[in-house]
Symmetry: C2
Subunit: 224 residues, 2 copies
């Protein structure tokens, strides 16, 4: 926290996991300061000694709040939910909460880690093939395999949003993953439910102010 | 659920994510039936039509309970915790709960998905190199990178176990990940805290009855 007591979010404009947390902070109306960590510049600022001391996983997001430091986006969101419960991001019914967490984990464990920057780098190394198509094919395979499952699951859980008619943690995972999918040129024809929910969510203010194209560290040419 | 009302766990003896749930069920004393899904046999039983209809992600574990079907091990454990709270697997203090979820997610999103069977297969394909050493090096890199961070984090959170002196969800993630690390011949010298906690946990009955070497689907030659 800053001297003024505000939480500090270590974030990168393009990091989909950082975006999840930015949406939560916006929805809950939590005032915070942002420290941008550029994952590309200087060979990756997450590898600096100072940042490693803060987060040994060398990843964003990291949140300093209430005297503690939390890593991992879903752990951060669950903490915010427990300490700042309004508006809630998990339904009251335990069965619906299970659906929300299942969808969140499907994205956070089953898709995102397999297509992030550091894994694509590793894939380039082992394949000795640094062409963009190799990265693209790998990421597309991972995302479509996850989205095929997600589209099917959403058909039984979704209302206006991923689970019923209230915005939940699952939606905070969905929208940033869709932007990643677009970046990797995934064909959305097979995903009408994902597309419909995503569109509706993007119309909400909290998803707009937290968007990668509107962050303090967004490069001018990517601003919108 | 079965006609008798027992939950049904779809599990594979060697799946570290299935093991997490088996420990939770054992600790909470929940009686259940197990349906083994062999991830190798018949080209992978998770790819059968019947299983895909149950879990579109084609992964274990899946739990049928209270009339719903839950995928994703941590979502399952959180549901068990909310509906069968004794003994608890999350501390009461929100800050300690945050530590538990942070460590759980570090393993469940940051390590395990990058070294599981299906990703190693994909790595073999892109590298056009199916030698065991290639798999081994990939898995070792992923695990040591995660364990380096975890060892450092545990130094400030651990008591007897990962967070304080009570067994939590973080411990349910730790022990199966250590077994994976041993399988991939990771050197444990740099990880005295992980080793100490793991040893203490393996002495507990719930970790023993749920162990991969003691499941109904464990092949005879791997039984202990």
């Amino acid at each position: 926290m800053t001297e003024s007591g505000k939480p500090i979010l270590y974030s990168y404009f393009r990091s989909s996991c950082s975006w999840r947390v930015r949406i939560a902070l916006a929805l809950k109306g939590i005032d915070f300061e942002m420290v941008p960590i550029n994952l590309i510049k200087d060979g990756g600022q997450q590898f600096s000694k100072d940042f490693q001391a803060l987060n040994p996983m060398k990843q964003v997001p990291t949140l300093k709040i209430d005297g503690i430091t939390i890593h991992q986006s879903l752990a951060i969101i669950e903490y915010l939910e427990e300490t700042r419960p309004t508006p809630r991001l998990l339904p009251q019914d335990p069965k619906k909460r299970a659906s929300v967490r299942m969808i969140s984990d499907l994205i956070a464990s089953g898709i995102q880690p397999l297509q992030n920057l550091s894994i694509l780098k590793k894939v380039g190394e082992v394949s000795k093939d640094l062409r963009e198509e190799t990265h693209l094919t790998w990421a597309q395979n991972v995302i479509t395999s996850g989205f095929n499952a997600l589209e099917q699951i959403l058909q039984s859980t979704a209302g206006k949003y991923c689970v019923g008619d209230e915005v939940t943690m699952a939606d905070l995972c969905l929208v940033p993953q869709v932007v990643n999918a677009e970046r990797f040129k995934v064909d959305f024809t097979p995903y009408p439910t994902i597309s419909r929910i995503n569109k509706r969510l993007l119309a909400l203010e909290a998803f707009q102010v937290s968007h990668p194209c509107r962050q303090p560290d967004t490069p001018t040419e990517l601003r919108a």
